[in-house]
């Protein structure tokens, strides 16, 4: 089972929504579409489902060209951000509805409904109507209806976005389990890096209608192909600063420098963009080659176990996440530390030229 997109693009009213895209998804894989609002996640899913025809390109299902085929005639199930159920039907009938449409025998329908309900913890609620359920239960019902179809391609468009934080946490743990059982191709759209990491599998990073990278989720997180992917895949956002390389040294704006060892020694002299994640900024010098930066503290936010520190370094605003509670005075001078092993180096056009040393080891 494979889904293959070849040169698929979408233009609406002269505006490009999806740039020509090649992508191949395999049977039994979880694929996260990660990108901000309006990056093209929903459009790409609608193209995959056949809900919209592509402007150019072909879509293949198991090698067969299905580009013009109606969504009803494809093996597709879709779950949306809004919980969509039939309000006048019971939970049982909601889950059974796609099978009734297919004209399956009653005994088969019953077995499938019971199984899906069991999996989604809806068994005791089968006789209720959707509006008598909590938001989380309503979305479970929509998920169960998608699963019962036994579709080869299951598309989930930010399915947890409208749920409470804690419910989201619980369903995030369950969704990978459901997926493992089904063996289908799952495509899951989200704006949240943490959600992508929790789901695992593969990630497709999207930015302004184009795929910037596709690969194993932790691999893309630690080895982003360019600054855009790194930005999409960092929450809090990745910190950046301008640096330059001259001979054996990499120079930071405020006179700091460190030796250009390993891969970095091969870099041409010139200007680059350095990037590092918030959790790698530290208030203490943990390693001997950590660099010190003199910053001004803008504000701190305490979460109970960690502190977010927002600091200004020359022109740049950085954010750090440090362990413990640190109640620091805003506008004060603050030294922060960064281990060179945690620094990614991008070319001025955004391409990754040297990944962080720690990521290579991980």
């Amino acid at each position: 089972m494979t889904l293959k997109l070849e040169g698929v693009s979408k233009k609406v009213g002269g505006q490009v929504q999806i740039h020509p895209t090649d992508l191949q998804l395999e049977k039994g894989t979880m694929n996260v579409l990660l990108g901000p609002t309006l990056s093209g996640k929903t459009t790409l899913m609608r193209l995959m489902a056949g809900l919209e025809p592509p402007s150019t390109g072909e879509i293949y299902w198991n090698g067969e060209n299905v580009t013009g085929r109606r969504v009803q005639d494809r093996e597709v199930a879709m779950v949306y951000q809004q919980f969509i159920n039939y309000p006048s039907m019971t939970v049982y009938e909601n889950i059974a509805s796609p099978l009734r449409l297919m004209g399956k025998p009653a005994s088969e329908i019953d077995a499938a409904v019971q199984e899906a309900a069991e999996l989604m913890k809806l068994s005791p609620l089968l006789t209720r109507k959707p509006l008598e359920l909590s938001g989380g239960q309503q979305q479970r019902c929509a998920l169960a209806r998608a699963l019962v179809k036994n579709a080869g391609l299951v598309l989930l468009d930010e399915p947890l976005a409208n749920l409470d934080y804690k419910l989201r946490e619980e369903l995030r743990v369950e969704i990978p389990k459901i997926f493992e059982k089904s063996g289908a191709i799952f495509v899951y759209a989200t704006t949240e890096p943490e959600e992508a990491l929790l789901l695992g599998g593969n990630t497709v990073a999207l930015w302004e209608g184009a795929i910037t990278q596709f690969g194993l989720t932790p691999e893309i997180y630690r080895n982003p192909a360019d600054a855009t992917t790194a930005r999409v895949f960092s929450d809090p956002p990745m910190n950046f600063l301008q640096i330059s390389k001259a001979g054996p040294k990499i120079m930071f704006g405020d006179g700091q420098s460190f030796g250009a060892a390993g891969k970095l020694s091969d870099l041409k002299d010139g200007r680059y963009l350095a990037g590092f994640r918030a959790n790698h900024l530290e208030l203490k010098k943990h390693t001997s080659d950590a660099m010190r930066f003199n910053c001004k503290l803008a504000i701190t936010e305490i979460t109970g176990s960690e502190t977010f520190i927002h600091v200004d370094h020359i022109e740049d605003r950085w954010v750090g996440v440090v362990h413990g509670v640190h109640d620091l005075e805003p506008k004060s001078d603050l030294s922060v530390y960064l281990d060179p092993a945690h620094v990614y180096i991008f070319a001025e056009d955004g391409r990754l030229v040297a990944t962080a040393a720690y990521a290579q080891a991980a």
């Binding site: 934080y165 804690k166 890096p193 932790p218 504000i299 979460t303 109970g304 176990s305 805003p330």
Partner: protein
């Protein structure tokens, strides 16, 4: 600006409430200090919106009083309460410019033009929309419109309080960061009394001086983020704060020792004869995996979530989550855990028992 007093407050949506079950909001007695930032945190249906609606005047409580300063406003309509509100979805006038939108609450109250101009500039700078003041609101993104709503909520300096009802729901994660931080510095700068309703723990904890955790119509704890994290007064707080939440393990307690399935765990404090449902609570952050020392666990799944790892395991029949640092390799023989005695809380019937210093 004013201190807000909730005096003997309760609310039921039922006409003739008979039992406690009938109350969406159970007995509340609190004083919220002038100039502080509060977050009302809880799951849907916990009563937080009911409470917000009582404070804003959309709802008259079935019992008790609401005071702004010394003034009883329990029955006063919203317009007379002198409050600003920001809702979940942006409320902006599409046909007006950004400037006119921001100036609206001031113009409405007949502020003088020079003051309005100065104040609008100040707010526009705060929400980073100075260069868009002249354009019409129509066609702006949801993010930008919500920024205008936030700015408009903040534009009046003389309000008693600013109420925020899930204001960042429609905002992208990246922008959430920015807006939340801006709100925090705006609070620091202007010192408004702010009440912020959310189900998102990160938003609540980072924004508020005091977080009011609600569960089943009750305030189960009101405290600083640190207090909620270190010493949750109720198991719900332990579960709701933290991701994943606090681990709860049924245990027998004998003074300063807990026994789980016969295995001993040292506690930091001593406890006298506890009855009912007794559990120990320990956060995933305070458990350590090891191959050598500790009590046995069965690891079921390791999740690499970037800045740390979440290990999901079974501990004598209880689900247990452990957080390990990003760089730590989790090998198959790391099947033991150790507890930090100082970080273990003890619960009887879901409420924390303080215990005596050992």
């Amino acid at each position: 600006m004013a201190q807000i007093t909730l005096d003997n407050l309760a609310h039921s949506y039922v006409a003739n409430p008979t039992s406690e079950e009938d109350y969406a909001l159970k007995q509340l007695d609190h004083v919220w200090e002038d100039g502080q930032a509060y977050a009302l945190l809880g799951a849907s249906g916990c009563g937080k919106s009911t409470l917000l609606n009582i404070i804003s005047g959309l709802l008259i409580p079935s019992r008790g009083r609401v005071l702004f300063g010394e003034q009883d406003v329990t029955n006063a309509p919203t317009a007379e309460r002198n409050i600003a509100q920001v809702f979940q979805f942006p409320v902006v006038y599409d046909t007006m410019t950004v400037r006119e939108n921001l100036a609206f609450p001031l113009k409405n109250r007949g502020a003088d033009a020079a003051y309005i101009e100065r104040r609008v500039q100040e707010i526009a700078r705060m929400i980073d929309m100075e260069d868009q003041l002249r354009r019409k609101a129509r066609g702006l993104t949801a993010d930008a419109k919500q920024k205008i709503s936030l700015g408009r909520g903040m534009v009046r300096e003389d309000v008693n309080a600013i109420l925020f009802d899930e204001p960042l729901t429609v905002i992208d994660p990246h922008m959430k960061w920015e807006l939340r931080t801006q709100l925090k510095s705006l609070h620091r700068q202007f010192g408004h009394t702010m009440i912020y309703v959310t189900h998102d723990q990160t938003e609540a904890l980072t924004f508020a001086d005091k977080v009011v955790v609600m569960h089943d119509g009750r305030v189960v704890q009101m405290g600083t983020p640190e207090e909620l994290f270190e010493t949750p007064e109720h198991t719900f707080v332990g579960y709701f704060i933290g991701s994943p939440g606090m681990n709860l393990i049924p245990a027998k307690i004998d003074d300063n020792q807990a026994y789980v399935n016969g295995s001993k765990i040292e506690l930091g404090r001593g406890y006298a004869n506890l009855s009912g449902k007794v559990e120990i609570g320990v956060r995933p952050e305070y458990l350590k995996l090891s191959s050598k020392t500790g009590l046995p666990v069965n690891i079921r799944r390791v999740e690499d979530v970037g800045r740390h790892k979440i290990i999901r395991a079974d501990f004598f029949g209880s689900d247990i989550n452990i957080i390990a640092p990003e760089g730590e390799a989790i090998s198959d023989n790391m099947n033991k855990i150790t507890f930090d005695p100082a970080k273990i809380n003890v619960y009887a019937n879901d409420w924390r028992v303080k215990g005596e210093a050992a």
